[in-house]
Amino acid sequence: MAELTDASIPNLAAGCRWGGTIEAPVVLFPEGAIKVEGTGRAILELCAGQLSLAQIVQKLEQQFILAPPGKIRADVISFIENLHAKRILDY
């Protein structure tokens, strides 16, 4: 599996896209959909092929200033790797 680094730029994989409604968004992929809420949604909205992992972490740290140091980075990495294994995110 390719290594996720600070310079990696996560993006939705081919054939994966946003769907559902504005109130209840989902990410659609072959044979399935995931409901995206709360922090998951905050992370995934930044995984759009524009920002690097380092930039995504920085943005979220500004947004969630009360999170313990290092926690956001660890959460983002585990979230991205999990969706990468399901072929929903590329980086």
């Binding site: 599996m1 994989a13 992929f29 072959p30 044979e31 399901k86 072929r87």
Partner: protein
Amino acid sequence: MPLSNPLALIAEITHRCPLHCVYCSNPLEMTARNEELPTADWLRVFREAAGLGVLHLHLTGGEPLARPDLAEMIAAARAAKLYTNLITSGIGLSRERLQQLVDSGLDHIQLSFQDSEEGSANWIAGARVHAHKLELAELIRGHRIAFTVNLVVHRQNIDHLEKMIAALEALHPDRMEIAHAQYYGWALKNRSALLPTKAQLDRALTIVAAAEERMRGRVRIDMVIPDYHARFPKACMGGWGRQLMLIDPAGHALPCHAAGVIPGMHFDNVREHALGWIWTDSAAFQKFRGEGWMPEPCRSCDRRTEDFGGCRCQAFLLTGAAAATDPVCELSPLHRIIEDAVREDTTQENAVSDFREAPFHVLQEKMGSLWSYRTDPK
């Protein structure tokens, strides 16, 4: 429990197909071309489905490419915000037509393979189609859509599963579906040639687990196991009338691919009824919904909320009673039907064919004692 909305719509837009696969999931009695639902009705059905909360549309057949209005259907589905998946053999798909389907909004294409060896693949499909599929895989990879390769596994090809997986991996799919034949329609008719032994299945499971590990992050593997070797039945279609609707080429709405075999059922047609009414109120969708219909041992079983008593069509096909516990279940009083089938069918010799490169009419004649090829609607 309140009724949830359907999540996926399976649109069997035609039964016509240039392939003759011996495990085809289509019914033995097929819809003829002149009975097929017109374009305008399909487009309305897709809009109604999206309105009900359906997320995924699976365009299948037969061979969906046999319909010249396929691109129009994809565009309408996409406009209705459905995720569109094309399940295809690839026959009838040129570079230009693929471009047209992608431009219309296709999200995902699922290309079927019969084997990795050309002679064997063509022998199973009853048509010389393997080489075209390989060319097509490369064209598909040139587009930014999801690409699944589907391989149906059975006794005649399972012994070289490792080779088949490696050949499919070389096509760079996002997803690989390794589906053991499910015994309905043509596959049930040909079960004695297709059902693998328990030892073959166990070996296949090890091979797939190793492939999954090796390809993690690159290719997602989904596996469908042959339920004849399982202890408990599959949660067929996620439960009757719980998640899925299937529309057949003539417009009848069914809870699953095979439900047409159950006697005494009436399936309402989308030409006469709104999809929402069919989902909530039609007799067919309510028939085995929930738990009221369940006999013992299902009725008091803890697994009833997981597998919903298994498959109604399989129960009918094997026991003669659609409301019986699926005989796959080891708790079924009729489980010996499955044990007998496994014992009898898997002792048959495998086929050694000298006719693998032969044209279809020769295959049909020479293979008659082994299996029946799927034939097209009249």
